[in-house]
């Protein structure tokens, strides 16, 4: 039943992503061509306000609904891996013009082609699991 609340936050997220136009392939292409401030404004605002909220939650030791304080499980620093993995992701992001969240939201918007994009993403995830031992981490 608890998952219903995540479903509801998801609905809000889907509306936000559509109304912000962040799900638009055109907005992503425009962003990578530095021809509009729109996407930078969205991401920048989200990060600055998000950082402020997270800072506040940590500072005032706000309890989460799970009863714990806010923590973050840090990733081990490995610049080579971050750059390599990030670049592979970026190539795909700029090609299909959507990252994982928008793939789902675009499907809801009626773009059936997202079934193929999501299928590709699942295959890519599976392939990573199959070859991860051979990659630099």
């Amino acid at each position: 039943m608890k998952n219903i609340s995540f479903f509801i936050v998801g609905i809000f997220f889907g509306i936000v992503m559509t109304k912000s136009e962040a799900i638009s392939w055109f907005r992503i292409h425009e962003m990578f061509r530095f021809e509009s401030f729109h996407m930078y404004g969205i991401i920048g605002t989200a990060v600055v306000l998000g950082a402020a909220v997270i800072w506040g939650m940590k500072k005032f030791k706000i309890k989460t609904l799970a009863g714990s304080t806010v923590t973050y499980n840090p990733m081990q620093l490995s610049p080579k891996r971050h750059i390599l993995a990030g670049s592979i992701f970026g190539l795909g992001w700029a090609l299909v013009g959507c990252c994982p969240g928008p793939m789902y939201v675009l499907l809801g918007n009626g773009y059936a082609i997202m079934i193929l994009v999501l299928l590709g993403a699942i295959l890519g995830t599976y392939t990573y699991g199959a070859v991860m031992d051979k990659l630099p981490h």
Binding site: F12, G14, T64, G86, S87, A94
Partner: protein, 199 residues
């Protein structure tokens, strides 16, 4: 009565494309809600969960996870699908995505029309490139998705996990990963994509 009278004008108000600052604040609110609910914002992990649901855990230990811990995330993205549906049907913008003149002009030179309203939405996807009717359209959609899925798992997160959540937690690995997102994105947009459109 007043409330009922205002409903349609409220819907009209919400239906306009949102200003970037409003959108950014709404994403920060999503992050805050998920954090308060005891979870961390990250969408791409759903792909791993789907692999686990399909039985990949039997062959590859990486997918051998407690899937019950992932149900909240799957509920979240299913909500995202419904949110998209609701917006497309009840809160649709009066006009297509208004990208800059410079981008429209450039896209024309590589054979892509400016965003147009169609039955599916207000110019969110160039369906002349990504479609089921051409082999190229199918391959590009699958290949792009593949790179996103592979890169997200290799990098342990996507835009929501690194660019939003990771940066909000002031994580250096996330910052470097986001720089990687831009290296790949710029390479695709400026070099590879024009070549792909020429084939």
């Amino acid at each position: 009565m007043e409330l009922i009278g205002n409903t349609s004008s409220f819907l009209e108000f919400v239906s306009q494309p949102w200003h970037w600052a409003v959108s950014g604040a709404a994403i920060a609110l999503t992050l805050a809600l998920l954090t308060w609910m005891g979870r961390s914002f990250g969408v791409s992990t759903t792909f791993k969960g789907i692999c686990t649901l399909a039985g990949a855990g039997k062959r590859i230990p990486f997918f051998d996870i407690n899937i019950k811990e992932e149900y909240w995330r799957i509920a979240f993205v299913l909500g995202g699908v419904l949110g998209g549906f609701i917006t497309a049907n009840f809160l649709q913008s009066p006009e297509p995505v208004a990208i800059s003149e410079a981008t429209i002009g450039y896209l024309g030179t590589i054979g892509i029309d400016y965003p147009e309203a169609d039955s599916r939405g207000m110019g969110f996807v160039p369906t002349e490139v990504f479609n089921f009717t051409s082999l190229k359209g199918i391959i590009l959609a699958l290949a792009g998705g593949f790179l996103v899925g592979f890169g997200a798992r290799y990098g342990d997160g996507c835009t929501s996990g690194h660019a939003i959540s990771g940066l909000a937690h002031l994580q250096l690995p996330s910052l470097i990963t986001v720089i990687g997102f831009f290296i790949g994105g710029l390479l695709m947009t400026h070099l590879l994509f024009p070549l792909l459109m020429g084939i």
